[in-house]
């Protein structure tokens, strides 16, 4: 500890540190801006966030999504939720972190995910969708009490109490997430519930929240609606504003440019609820000139209703 203190203190002396590769390495880490004790480096309540790398989004999220917590990106298919999740994954892998992408829908498209900047070699992919059945050990994993009661009312037949395939698949998905979080070392865990998702029970959500806190990983859920209730620290609701189609010249073939997404912070325990911004997800981000004129005038940084 003393040695680290000395090194970090030397950072102020720019003349001495320039030749030391170890100290230069220290200076490259944005988190270590001061001197920490050992236990402070692993403190859970430290305001550590994972940036998306998108300026507008990071602004309304006060720098990114919190580590060690559950965050949700909510929207229907086509709202841009996968693109934003890929942005966070790209930021995580760019920092050298290891990410996991666990899905129940089989929708992971490695080509476009890689195009968004994700280092696929650092992403552990697991899919429940290609498994025809769920192992017996997972069948009784989770069935929320409400679902159980409603099923009990529907019929008294014993087989009616068996969880539906969607519930079983979702239970297996949550089990997979827990396994990944137990392993530790993952910076980001993306959970893609697909379009046919049911809210998970409080006990399962609590278990996930505690596992995320222990692991210190960002747990990012993609779902059509809120999944974890009060256990999610952030709920980012996405809505597609428009899909841009344009032509490079009159008579030229029509091109699909991308989506304009309205991102609204519907819930944020860390502050900033209600903030919204327009985020652009383009098929070719380098070609920003194809954005609508109104968007270009706003310099892509128009933020609506940002609350402090």
């Amino acid at each position: 500890m003393t040695r680290l203190t000395v090194n970090v203190c030397q950072l102020d002396d720019a003349a001495e540190i320039s030749a030391s590769p170890a100290i230069v390495k220290v200076s490259q880490l944005p988190e270590i801006s001061g001197v920490f004790r050992g236990h402070e480096l692993t403190r859970k309540d430290r305001d550590d966030r994972l940036s998306s790398g998108l300026s507008t989004l990071d602004t309304i999220l006060s720098g990114g999504i919190a580590r060690g917590r559950i965050s949700e990106i909510i929207g229907r298919a086509g709202s841009g939720r996968t693109s934003l999740a890929a942005s966070f994954a790209a930021a995580a892998t760019r920092r050298g972190e290891v990410a996991a992408w666990i899905e129940s829908s089989g929708a992971f498209d490695p080509a476009s995910i890689a195009a968004s900047g994700v280092d696929l070699a650092r992403v552990l992919w697991a899919s429940i969708s290609t498994r025809s059945g769920v192992p017996p050990s997972c069948k009784s994993f989770e069935l929320s009490s409400r679902q159980f009661e409603s099923r009990a009312l529907q019929s008294s037949s014993r087989d009616q109490f068996q969880p539906s395939p969607i519930v079983r698949k979702q239970s297996a998905l949550l089990k997979a997430v827990e396994l990944v979080l137990e392993a530790g070392g993952f910076g980001l865990v993306v959970v893609d519930f697909g379009d046919a998702a049911r809210s998970i029970s409080s006990s399962a959500a609590l278990r996930l929240a505690r596992a995320a806190e222990r692991c210190g990983a960002v747990v990012l859920m993609i779902a059509p609606h809120r999944m974890c209730g009060t256990f999610a620290v952030l709920s980012l609701v996405l809505r597609r504003v428009e899909a841009s189609f344009g032509r490079l010249a009159p008579g030229a073939p029509s091109l699909f440019d991308g989506l304009t997404i309205d991102a609204t912070v519907a819930r944020n325990k860390l502050g900033g609820r209600g903030a919204s911004a327009l985020v652009y997800a383009m098929t070719d981000p380098a070609a920003q000139f194809i954005l609508p004129q109104s968007h270009r005038r706003n310099d892509l940084r128009k933020i609506h209703g940002l609350q402090s």
Binding site: V26, Q28, S52, L54, T56, D58, R76, A77, G78, G80, T82, S83, A86, S87, R94, R95, G96, E97, V98, G106, A107, F108, D109, P110, S112, A114, A115, S116, G117, D119, L120, A121, R122, V123, L124, W125, A126, S127, I128, S129, T130, P135, K175, A176, V180, E182, A183, G184, G185, A243, F245, S254, F256, L259, V279, Y280, A281, M282, T283, L300
Partner: protein
């Protein structure tokens, strides 16, 4: 003078049984050749001797003394494993280890003075390590092997200081030697008792030549032993390549769960041995003995060597689930290849990463949960087909240098959610473009459209009909190969109705359903007397034969190409890579896995459609089958 330690496990057969089955610990246990009433007991546990049971009693006699007597047969497998474990305990202290009779191991203590302060401490450490491996041992330390063994037979820890060997031997009773009959059948113990000898000191005072003339070579050796004479040095055993535990089951096990219980205990014992030697487990070699004296052996690769028995058991279970044994398992043998432990120290200045051993465990559990083909690193395949992916083993590379000054972006890359496999849809076209789309969970009007963008590929695998001329130039092997693939497709459960046979007859293509292939051939192929007969040939052979008959057919019905089409563009557009999938290749759905023999590659027109349901879809029209599919949603 060297110093030798001897580790001795008394009643080794019993100790090996108890080690293999810890529930027998403390039981009134005896070993007999059979469970018949007249069978004689050979080895007894301490509790059995305390009850008054003695060796050579019959089973009926012993049961009369103690009704809770447990009889077991001697287990060679358990004794081999226990002997190896005992040698491991010795080798964890000294590199020079000699294995003697079962349950007896010598080790050279030379050079250990720098590590241990006294020989008593070495002996205590040896005893502790043997206890960790599930056995109780006595340790003797002396100047040579024989005296060390005699010291160990006294029980506990006994160190014979240098120069005091004769003093120790003088009072030692002759019973300790456990003298058996000589080669000539002479009972040495009885003979020495008749001579009035009770202790080794009495024997040492005799003239060796006189004893030798009466008792032979064995008598001379006894006198030399009684005098503490020097013996040969230790002959170190060869280091083992693998760590082995084996067990013979009393009855066959047919299900995985009880087998897992047995293997878990074996893995625990193996990892304890490895840990004692400062090693970790590498690859696993599992040999299962099944009925009919057959052995099934398999090698299970372990990417991250560790001593986590639970993770190893998960890997074994996965392997057994993938390829279960044909019959009940009657014996189990597990070999672990030792590896040097790999330091898993993370860089302080880099982001944390999963520990290799825990990551391996996690991947194994995920594979058990999701299926082995659904866990790993999903990568785009080097193909013109956008849906082509491959699955690689997840092994994150070292993190790249972090650039804190990485610029922020204003625009995100749009990602597509794949629809895998592509779903067939109906598209109503107007003025040459899609107007309305209808399909499963889909039915909306087209609002905006981009495309079409043509993608074609794998045309280089096409058999050029002009070059081939007629099927006479098509090698029969090729046809056969295609037919085999067609058969594979059916085996994989692909509906036959999706298969069609396309015949190019006199330059005009026509298709027929699979069920009507024979009729079509019968109707259109008029070979010299063959027709549709082909007696004695299987259906595939008939097809192959039909193609070979084509050149002899009348020109009117010359068939230039036979190919099998599939209604699914995925299956119809299989690449050679997909036809022979590489190891670990990901094939999410059956349609991706199933192949047909299309040789014309694929030609697709892709569109991006914004529908009035709010989504932007990527659809394509397969020009080979003239069908529409949706294969992704921009999200």
């Amino acid at each position: 003078m060297g110093r030798i330690a001897c580790i001795l496990v008394s009643d080794f057969s019993i100790a090996a049984l108890v080690r293999a089955n810890p529930t027998l610990e403390g039981a009134v246990l005896a070993i007999a050749d059979s469970t018949a009433a007249h069978a004689e007991l050979s080895v007894l546990s301490l509790r059995a001797r305390e009850r008054g049971i003695r060796p050579a009693m019959t089973l009926a006699q012993a049961r009369a003394i103690s009704s809770d007597l447990i009889i077991r047969a001697r287990s060679q497998a358990a004794e081999h494993s226990a002997a190896a474990a005992l040698a491991d305990a010795a080798e964890s202290i000294s590199p020079a280890v000699e294995v003697g009779a079962p349950g007896c191991v010598w080790l050279d203590l030379a050079g250990l003075g720098r590590i241990y302060s006294s020989e008593e401490e070495v002996a205590a450490e040896l005893q502790r390590r043997v206890r960790r491996l599930g056995m109780e041992a006595a340790v003797g330390v002396a100047a040579n092997r024989e005296i060390a063994a005699l010291a160990a037979r006294c029980g506990g820890i006994r160190v014979i200081a240098p120069g005091l060997e004769r003093e120790f031997l003088d009072w030692l009773p002759l019973d300790v030697l456990k003298l058996g009959p000589t080669e000539s059948g002479l009972d040495l113990e009885l003979t020495l008792a008749r001579w009035g000898l009770k202790r080794l000191g009495d024997l040492a005072r005799l003239d060796p030549d006189a004893v030798g003339s009466r008792l032979g070579r064995r008598g001379v050796e006894l006198v030399r032993l009684a005098r503490g004479g020097d013996s040969r040095p230790i002959q170190p055993r060869q280091r083992t390549e693998t760590f082995t535990e084996s067990i013979e089951l009393e009855y066959g096990i047919e299900t995985l769960e009880p087998l897992g219980f047995m293997m878990r205990a074996m893995l625990d014992r193996l990892t304890a041995r490895l840990a004692l030697r400062g090693l970790v487990a590498g690859d696993i070699i599992l040999a299962l003995g099944i009925g009919g004296h057959r052995n099934l052996s398999r090698r299970i690769a372990v990417a991250a060597p560790s001593n986590d028995a639970r993770a190893m058991l998960t890997l074994i279970n996965l392997s057994l689930e993938a390829a279960p044994p044909e019959a009940a398992v009657e014996s189990i043998r597990i070999d672990l290849e030792p590896r040097a432990p790999r330091p898993a120290q993370n860089d302080m200045f880099l982001p944390p990463a999963p520990a290799p051993d825990r990551l391996e465990t996690t991947i194994a559990r995920l594979a058990a949960l999701c299926g082995p083909a659904s866990v790993g690193t999903l990568m785009p395949e080097n193909s013109h087909r956008p849906e082509a992916v491959r699955l690689e083993r997840f092994a994150p590379p070292p993190p790249p240098p972090v650039n804190p000054d990485a610029p922020e972006h204003a625009v995100a890359q749009l990602v597509i959610r794949a629809v895998r496999p592509a779903v067939e849809i109906e598209v109503m076209c107007s003025r040459g473009g899609p107007e309305f789309v209808r399909g499963p969970n889909l039915g909306a009007r087209v609002v905006s459209i981009a495309g079409p963008w043509r993608r074609d590929g794998e045309w280089w695998q096409q058999i050029d009909p002009d070059a081939a001329g007629t099927s006479a130039q098509c090698p029969p092997d090729n046809n056969r190969h295609r037919l085999d693939q067609h058969e594979l497709q059916i085996v994989n459960g692909h509906p036959r109705r999706q298969t069609a046979l396309a015949l190019t007859i006199s330059g005009k293509e026509s298709e027929t359903s699979d069920a009507g292939i024979e009729e079509a051939l019968a109707r259109r192929v008029r070979g010299p007397g063959e027709g549709i007969g082909w007696p004695g040939l299987s259906r595939d052979e008939r097809y192959a034969d039909a193609s070979s008959l084509m050149p002899e057919s009348p020109p009117l019905v010359a068939v230039r190409d036979i190919r099998f089409l599939n209604r699914s563009p995925y299956a119809a557009k299989k690449t050679p890579d997909a036809q022979t999938p590489r190891e670990g290749a990901h094939q999410p759905k059956s349609q991706l896995r199933e192949g047909t023999s299309a040789r014309r590659g694929f030609v697709r027109d892709y569109y991006e459609l914004a529908l009035d349901d709010g989504g932007v879809y990527r659809i394509f029209r397969d020009l080979n089958s003239d069908q529409w599919f949706v294969d992704g949603v921009y999200d």
